[in-house]
């Protein structure tokens, strides 16, 4: 694989699409739209994994793609939608940092990701390097989303986006062992987080989904 060839171009386009979707996640003002963007990102991830499976001739990546498609593009977004509808949550996004400001921060993070990966030259293939920059950007944007949104569901979305970035990186590295196991384990983590949010909301421990408000159980008498 080298620059200008089809496998590279497709992988690149898919990675770019994921980054774009990450930016959209940051940009959206409505919870429903955020969830849709997330589902889309899951779909793109599945496509990327499948493409890599095809290019690298690694059949296990198809499994990864399948799992990603099912879980991230379908099940989890559905569950989140259910959650939003069931609890009649505020449909607009509550931010700790304005949308504009978080976009700016996002751009800065992408620049940083590129800057960090830039010196990596010796030996590593250009493909992997570009992929890495994209995946790193997705990871960082996911984390940014986690810390700039007050809504627990949006934080879960951020975590999932972060995890999507991880899988993107994992499938992009040719010959990565245990890739299925690792991606599944990471997925389990995310699913459990979603489940925990679900559980907590049902139990009424979150009076609101603003995580800023549940911080008062310090266990230390004042």
């Amino acid at each position: 694989m080298s620059f200008g060839q089809l496998p590279y171009d497709v992988a690149h386009v898919l990675g770019g699409a994921m980054l774009l979707l990450s930016c959209m996640l940051l940009y959206q003002r409505r919870v429903a739209a955020v969830i849709t963007a997330l589902a889309l990102q899951g779909g793109v991830l599945a496509a990327a994994a499948a493409w890599q499976g095809y290019v690298q001739g690694a059949p296990q990546l198809f499994l990864t793609a399948l799992i990603a498609l099912l879980a991230k593009a379908v099940l989890i977004p559905l569950a989140l939608r259910l959650l939003v509808r069931r609890f009649d949550l505020d449909r607009t996004v509550e931010t700790a940092l304005g949308i504009g400001a978080s976009m700016l921060a996002g751009i800065a993070l992408v620049a940083l990701a590129i800057l960090v990966v830039l010196p990596v030259t010796g030996g590593a293939q250009a493909v992997a390097r570009e992929d890495l920059a994209l995946a790193l950007s997705v990871v960082l944007l996911g984390m940014l989303m986690m810390i700039t949104r007050r809504n627990a569901i949006l934080q879960v979305v951020g975590l999932m986006s972060l995890e999507n970035g991880l899988i993107l990186a994992a499938v992009g590295v040719a010959g990565m062992p245990l890739v299925v196991e690792l991606s599944t384990a990471a997925l389990v983590l995310v699913v459990l987080v979603v489940g925990a949010v679900f559980l907590l909301m049902i139990r009424g421990e979150f009076a609101s989904t603003d995580t800023g408000l549940v911080e008062r159980h310090r266990g230390e008498a004042e």
Partner: protein
């Protein structure tokens, strides 16, 4: 099946059994029995020739930590046997509690023994999930919040660690070809010198931040005090004593790989910075604590910081100091948690003000706690005294400016600990909320840990010396 595998799977098998036992008496005994078997297994590892067994590998660095895990697992199970009743669990929770405990023990053993970094990552994730379960078990708002904090922060942390692992493989990928051994620690370490230093740097940053979160290094520590203070009293000992060790061990493995490439920015200095921040922040945070278990949780942050500082300094003596410090911390801190947990159950509150005069009301417990806190504060003749001494020696020799923050941290923290020691142990006893439980399940583990600390601090047996010496060479 090789013995290391048994060491991992035995507790997991036990967890399955325990999850099925509804009777409390039986479950408690089974828990102790399984832990004892696990402890025997870890001791048996001494006889296993070092090297690779499938995806596990025994070397001098993980062997003492695994044995430590076995021993503390056993003592904690014994302590738990006497104290689980007072937690007031229903049957379901009791089953979950015991199962999670054993899963945790198995996972931390796996995290230490794994040769494959991917396996290690999975093990740490399992340990995290098990500890989240244990912390949340009480279901009180405080416990849920602590568990949620632990879950989310550590979840993000280990996600970052996975990213680091992937980058590490990416760096090594041109040289390993295909196959599962591409994530083997030994292979990676051997290849590191040829890898791209830029990628290694990147990988180390992610691994450090990721596993560092699990190890409770400042500023990634926020989950630790609450998690250690809110769970059932018994599990605090393993959370503080074993989970942190496993995470720091993972950081060390990463440092060993990255450090063996001369082109990288020195990973030791990053670790040193985190360590120093932990030591200083913990030292000053201790002063405002009113909750006894949170107090000692903060002290754990300080101790892990000291160990990180020592490993950051590196070199034989630095690594030896760090290793000894980890072991000393695990033994003495869990001893403290046994005594504090017992006292907290008895007094019906874990506020420092509610626990007082233990020496007057129960000399064996009071003195044991007093000596254990003194050991934690670095007073002789226990292991932490030796390790801190060695650390100071090494700092003076290598980075003399380090002495100033180190001494401030050590002294400020130690004085705060003395204050709490006196408030817990001296003075007139505070009233009991409930009749004291069986003392022996507290006193036994407590004094055994103190004895071990003393033995390791002053009379380390020759073979162990050789083992530690070899272990100190591994992180580089």
């Amino acid at each position: 099946m090789p013995l290391p595998w048994i060491t991992v799977f035995l507790p997991w098998l036990g967890a399955a059994i325990l999850a099925a036992i509804p009777q409390e008496r039986l479950a408690v005994r089974a828990n102790v029995a399984i832990s004892a078997l696990g402890c025997l297994c870890t001791l048996g590892l001494v006889a296993v020739p070092g090297g690779e067994q499938g995806w596990t590998r025994i070397d001098a660095l993980n062997l003492p930590l695994v044995i430590l895990g076995g021993v503390i697992g056993l003592t904690t199970a014994i302590f738990s046997a006497g104290h689980v009743r007072a937690e007031g669990f229903d049957t379901l929770r009791l089953r979950g509690y015991h199962a999670a405990f054993q899963i945790f023990l198995g996972a931390q053993a796996l995290a230490l023994l794994a040769d494959n970094l991917g396996v290690m990552w999975v093990a740490i994730e399992i340990a995290t999930l098990a500890s989240v379960t244990m912390v949340a078990l009480h279901g009180t708002p405080a416990a849920l919040e602590a568990a949620w904090k632990l879950f989310l922060l550590c979840g993000v942390g280990i996600a970052l660690a996975l990213f680091g692992t992937i980058i590490l493989y990416l760096a090594a990928q041109p040289f390993v070809g295909h196959g599962d051994h591409g994530l083997s620690w030994v292979v990676l370490r051997g290849l590191a010198a040829r890898c791209d230093p830029g990628l290694l740097n990147l990988a180390f940053v992610f691994l450090l931040v990721g596993y560092g979160t699990k190890a409770g290094l400042v500023p990634l520590h926020a989950w630790l005090p609450d998690a250690e203070a809110e769970g059932p009293v018994a599990i605090t000992a393993v959370l503080s004593g074993l989970l942190l060790n496993a995470a720091l061990h993972a950081v060390l493995r990463a440092k060993a790989i990255v450090g063996s490439n001369p082109g990288t920015i020195a990973p030791g200095h990053l670790l040193l910075g985190f360590g120093l921040a932990s030591v200083l922040l913990a030292a000053f945070s201790l002063w405002r604590r009113r909750d006894a278990r949170r107090f000692f949780a903060w002290s754990s942050i300080g101790h892990i910081g000291l160990a990180a500082t020592a490993f950051g300094l590196g070199g034989l003596a630095g690594n030896l100091a760090g290793l000894l410090h980890m072991i000393g911390h695990s033994l003495s801190k869990s001893a403290v948690f046994f005594a504090v947990g017992h006292a907290a159950q008895r007094k019906g509150s874990q506020q420092i003000a509610a626990i007082g005069g233990l020496i007057a009301s129960d000399p064996a417990l009071g003195w044991g706690l007093a000596i254990a806190i003194a050991a934690v504060a670095g007073l002789p003749p226990f292991l932490l005294f030796a390790s801190e001494f060695l650390l100071v020696m090494e700092a003076a020799a290598r980075l003399p400016w380090l002495l100033a923050p180190l001494l401030v941290g050590l002294v400020v923290a130690a004085i705060a600990k003395i204050g709490v020691l006196q408030r817990l142990c001296l003075g007139a006893p505070t009233p009991d909320a409930r009749p004291p439980g069986p003392g022996l399940t507290t006193l036994g583990p407590l004094w055994v840990h103190l004895g071990l600390c003393l033995l390791l601090g002053l009379g380390l047996p020759g073979p162990l010396r050789a083992l530690f010496d070899a272990a100190a060479r591994i992180p580089g």
